[in-house]
Symmetry: D3
Subunit: 209 residues, 6 copies
């Protein structure tokens, strides 16, 4: 019993591979994904600050660093399941939260329980920080799916992932989203111009949908 249990369990997420099952040229662990999300979110928040938005850095730190910890208990459940029915999705989230709550009760010393509950909550709320997390998380799907498409991976799943992530990002109102769409995404698309898959067209369709 103690924070040691939490710290040690972090290693497990280096052994959970994203998009399980599908052929990938490059595999990514949940740990590496989480770290990239932390990095994207930092720069996205910097952009918000440049536009005068106040960022609660402590909150951003808490929610981005732990946002996929629950996958220790439920794995990276495949997207089709996640979206199969709203009912299932709600149920899964409820279960994940139940297990996390149970984990905190059992392993985290009482004086830290409130902190861990806050840190391991679902962070994607309507606050600036919650929206930044949502964008950063989707951005990593864009980067992961892009890397597969750019190397000629024709698995439909990656095209779908790329398109859906862009549509989701586009729908979020943040200065950093504008910056991403105008200054970062074009560089990405340009790099993919030698791919057998027409990434530019998929991108345009997603952005104009």
């Amino acid at each position: 019993m103690g924070i040691h249990t939490y710290f040690q369990s972090l290693n497990d997420l280096e052994r959970i591979i994203r998009t399980p099952g599908k052929f990938k040229f490059e595999e990514h662990s949940v740990s590496a994904h989480s770290w990239k999300v932390v990095q994207y979110a930092k720069t996205l928040a910097d952009i918000e600050e440049k536009h005068g938005v106040t960022v609660d850095w402590k909150k951003l730190y808490e929610i981005t660093s732990s946002h996929d910890y629950g996958e220790i208990f439920i794995g990276d459940i495949k997207t089709p399941v996640k979206h199969h029915s709203l009912e299932l999705r709600a149920m899964l989230q409820q279960v994940e939260e139940g297990i996390v709550a149970h984990f905190i009760d059992e392993h985290i010393p009482e004086e830290f329980q409130a902190i861990f509950r806050r840190q391991l909550r679902e962070g994607k709320d309507e606050s600036v920080e919650g929206r930044i997390l949502e964008v950063a998380d989707k951005m990593d799907q864009v980067y992961e799916a892009f890397a597969e498409m750019a190397r000629g991976n024709t698995e439909k799943e990656f095209t779908v992932m790329y398109r859906n992530a862009l549509i989701q990002i586009k729908s979020i109102k943040l200065h950093c989203v504008d910056y991403f769409l105008q200054h970062i995404l074009p560089d990405l698309v340009r790099e993919g111009s030698r791919s057998p898959i027409d990434i530019a067209q998929i991108t345009n369709e997603a952005l104009s949908s």
Copy 2:
């Protein structure tokens, strides 16, 4: 649309790793597990036949060869989730069945749909074949968990998996279960005698529980 989609998807199960997250000396794909279950089940059925039991080999073939196909859609969801609540478990099974049914409707030619529905059903019913499948599936948990314990893997998950699988096997009434407990398990336990973990004691506790 066609059986090709089914055949090609089988490759995905070689990329889904069992017991995701936990440290393992030896990793197993769902494909390899499925094949071992096919092999165990065949010998278990041979033992039943030796005792005069009639085995429906076609049914046994169907349910053992495809018993984990649904993991293509939901991955190897971690045990804690599977057992967290009966409600969730039922829900998950319902969803898995829903996706499988949807897959058959969409991809399998009409003339084969009845066959695929029968093949991809949950096979662990009360028939001889269903119980043999249940035993064979648990036997592979015994072998996988044993291999970790024998090499000194102290992850609690493997001890729990080993114990629970034995308890489940013991509870099933089949001639082959008697054979397994009397003639196969003792050889296994003997091999584990050099392990830092007391496998013999864990085994005895499980069998007398």
Copy 3:
């Protein structure tokens, strides 16, 4: 001594990689291959039954599930060796059978020896089941070689493997072969249309040879 030795050895086949040496985008273990053969054979047999052919499901189960067990002893010997001379090929098969026979004598309890001898015999005889196994085994070569060609692997070995497997399949008289050539292979070829390798032409050449 006992069936335990057999069961435990099954794990070794998850560590034997097919087509050793050659560069592959996707590696396949002998275990995963064996499981896919079991799956293909089941559907091929279903097709035969639809045409009124009687299938001995127990025999089919036995010969498909174990058809590559001998590779535990001799590995996946490279194709050039297999076909280098008829003399060597016969010699290798003789040795493999000798080692398997020795294994059964030494490890399988007497009451099961007849069963294991039947199960581990070379199954590709002239019976319906033997021919189905032959087709299923070659079909997996088609799928494995196709997946490499579709991703742009220019190793000559995979083109040769794909072509030879098709020629072999085509030469076998079974209803399921007709079904495969008319309803499954075209879906496969269509999927490969974006490959830098002209899979359609290689397919046509093989089928008209």
Copy 4:
């Protein structure tokens, strides 16, 4: 040119393995390490706050998330080199900083250069945040080396790493160091009691040195 170059380069750190060369039961990427450091640092900072210390969360976020980015350019240079001579060490750090500065000049848009310079600076200064980073970084060496020793890895390098990291942590004046030594480390040591290596003794020697 643009932040895209930075974001995309983050993937490279998932391919750089820590402690290259040495036999390890468990490999860790620099990405996963970085993410664990972010997590440890967050809890360490929580502990400081509980003791009334003010934490600059933005600064902590910046320096912990990027603290090993420079390894993209110089790899995880082996410890013996790092410590071989003070002169070399200083030189290496100078070069790493030079390459990072060059990277920022070349790829980061001017309006973000100041931010990236701050973020990619060597963060282990004498501030609270700098010291927390130092502790978090060494804590991961403790965890990584412990996991090897607990599984019986007798490579001397891991014992040395474990001992040196503890000595370093102990020397840093922070409330969270006291907490780590009193409440986290003992749980770790207890878990290692079945190891063939006497982890308790190595720990005691390090703490009393």
Copy 5:
């Protein structure tokens, strides 16, 4: 056609794993093995020279660097096969030599064919260089098997491999064999003293057999 074909094929040996099938903590490619044999042989030859023996360095270079090239064609055929019958062994060697000869005829320009024939011949003859190669090759089996035993790998195959390699080395009359047995092996055995396997006893039995 040309030496390019030979040079490029060398990569294949990095993908052929030694002792296929068996569980190993550490895998070794044929390439890495070949390189270690080159290194051992060099030092063994240095020892011979110190005792006044004349070494033909060009010949030693030729036979050690290429001694396992034939495995490109036949893989690392499992030991049981190699030794199953003298007849098979002779047959296999004949086939390997036949394929190598065929390869040289087809791919190596005529002016280099004599050189490649000499280089790719079976080098383990009765000359000093041939015997050094034999010792160096067996020494790597000693090191590989030792590393598994020292980490607690209880696969019988490694004990057998270690013992047989020692017996073979001991039977070869060379100054460097004396040096190995008196000055190198004892260091190895000492290192293995914490293993659950009694390496010292296995060593003593092999040396006194």
Copy 6:
């Protein structure tokens, strides 16, 4: 203390991956690279001999077989660092030599120290053997970079590596360089003609630069 320490450390180089960080379709260990260099150098020396040049085979053996041993201590430091400044490069080489010297003093018995010092020296001097080693080492960069480009890897690093290696080779005066440029390289370039990258043009630019 003893040669055992040296022999055992050779395994570490199988765990050090070349060009760390960058995405590669095919990974190469330093061991496999070293072995390929040994092989190339042998044939290059054969070509020199054909032109009447005297080759010191013992020296060639010594310097090629060990030419990257120092990477055990400093890893495969990334190219940008190596070339960042002449000062750093000189410094790094000095440190590597210092550590190697220290290793010899500490672990190699006195009677062998002179031999190991000679063997582990930087071998790329102006002698025939030193120049052959330089060519062989660069040739492996050509082969490794080519294999990535031929499969469509668009990482700039591999184009740069390929071009620079060719330029370096071209600048060395040896008969075998002429042979390589006239008889080996054209075969390589021809094979790459299906790549999305224009390898022929990159080659021509490098050769005419």
